[in-house]
């Protein structure tokens, strides 16, 4: 028996949740060693993939069990990610100084309230944020707004308000729909996103609208969608379907409003990938849980 191979399989078994590993980890390694070829030193690729898939399924089962219903959790994820993206953009800007510092603080409050699963706590901050970004549009009916100093970005077109309105509707919907059950507490590791945006700004690596920033956001979103697709295919956990649809819905509004005024090949490629991945996640989530495949017998 190769000690090296046993050690390597032992490391792979660490993909399993700790409780399962403690109970069955040794048995799995023992069986892996029994099916290994004589002299084999590296884990078999097929076995490695199977271990990864089963470990992911077990982890998904652990995450999903006891949590809110899948569509509510998906809506929570989308709303949280919209707020997180807005906060990362805000802390990445250099011009939020003086009284403008209120803006990232306001968004941070929305993000933290959603992260801990408290939508009603997020609502007043989200309302103020939406009110602030709608200032140019609201002053048409409310001219005295000009007396208030602006402390947020001022989108000129109504289409640019779509993410903010989606965020507000999402927060209200979460508050109403989660009355009978608690929302999940998200990982604090998500705050690494705005921290990275702040660090990139401080180090003058990238800032919102700079090519590096746009590329990082596009790559990050596509990577996240790809992971979500893999997760959905393996675990049949449908939460990412509503999350992806709600998250990208405001962008679709923006695209529609602008009638594809920027059909650069790179932009089209990005939207093509995002669209295909989102559609694939929805299809994967809706796919029958277990495809029937009749067994074949040997004669």
């Amino acid at each position: 028996m190769s000690e090296v191979l046993a050690r390597r399989y032992g490391r792979l078994v660490r993909m399993y949740p700790r409780a399962y590993r403690t109970t069955h980890g040794d048995e799995i390694v023992d069986t892996l060693m029994a099916v290994a070829r004589p002299g084999q030193r590296r884990p078999d690729v097929r076995e490695t993939v199977a271990l990864a898939v089963e470990a992911t399924k077990l982890r998904a089962a652990g995450i999903v069990s006891g949590g809110p219903v899948w569509w509510l959790d998906g809506l929570h994820m989308a709303t949280f990610l919209l707020a997180l993206g807005a906060l990362a953009t805000a802390v990445g800007q250099t011009w939020f100084q003086g009284h403008y510092v209120v803006w990232p603080v306001l968004l941070a409050a929305v993000v933290v309230a959603l992260l801990i699963g408290r939508p009603w706590l997020a609502l007043p901050f989200a309302l103020v944020a939406v009110f602030a970004v709608s200032r140019l549009h609201l002053r048409k009916v409310w001219p005295s707004l000009d007396e208030l100093p602006p402390f947020s970005p001022q989108p000129a077109t109504r289409a640019e308000l779509a993410p903010w309105l989606t965020l507000l509707v999402g927060v209200i919907a979460l508050g109403v729909l989660s009355r009978r059950g608690k929302l999940r507490r998200r990982s604090w590791w998500w705050l690494a996103v705005p921290v990275a945006a702040f660090a990139a700004r401080q180090a003058s690596i990238a800032w919102p609208a700079s090519p590096g920033w746009v590329a990082a956001v596009a790559i990050g979103q596509i990577a996240l969608l790809s992971l979500a697709l893999g997760w959905t295919v393996i675990t049949r956990d449908a939460r990412w379907a509503p999350a992806a649809v709600v998250f990208f819905a405001p962008d679709a509004v923006w695209l529609r409003y602008n009638r594809w005024t920027d059909p650069s090949p790179l932009g089209l490629t990005y939207w093509g990938i995002v669209g295909v991945l989102t559609l694939a996640i929805v299809v994967a989530a809706a796919w029958p849980r277990r495809r029937r495949r009749p067994a074949q017998t040997t004669s």
Binding site: E27, D30, V53, A55, R293, Q296, T298
Partner: protein
Amino acid sequence: MTEQTYYVLATLLDGPRHGYAIIKHALELSGGRVKLPVGTLYGSLDRLADQDLIEVDHEEIVAGRPRRYFRLTDDGRQAVVTEAARMQKAARLVLRHTAVRTATA
């Protein structure tokens, strides 16, 4: 019932087996076609146990490592027999048709 599930249940018809024995026997029964990866096997065993189609018969410690032996429950035996009968019926449909054509040719 998937093909893998069918063969896992079929390997337990003769009595309790541990993980490696199930893999080996499934390979034999299928003529070398169904080669269950270890991770897939234990995931499948867990799910079958959750559905009360199999259960742990006993556990041994071999070279310091635990080894569970699984056996079919009554429901599991019924499920695999029902599936076999279903496939037999489906196969008979085609084979009868083929036999008629062969006879008239």
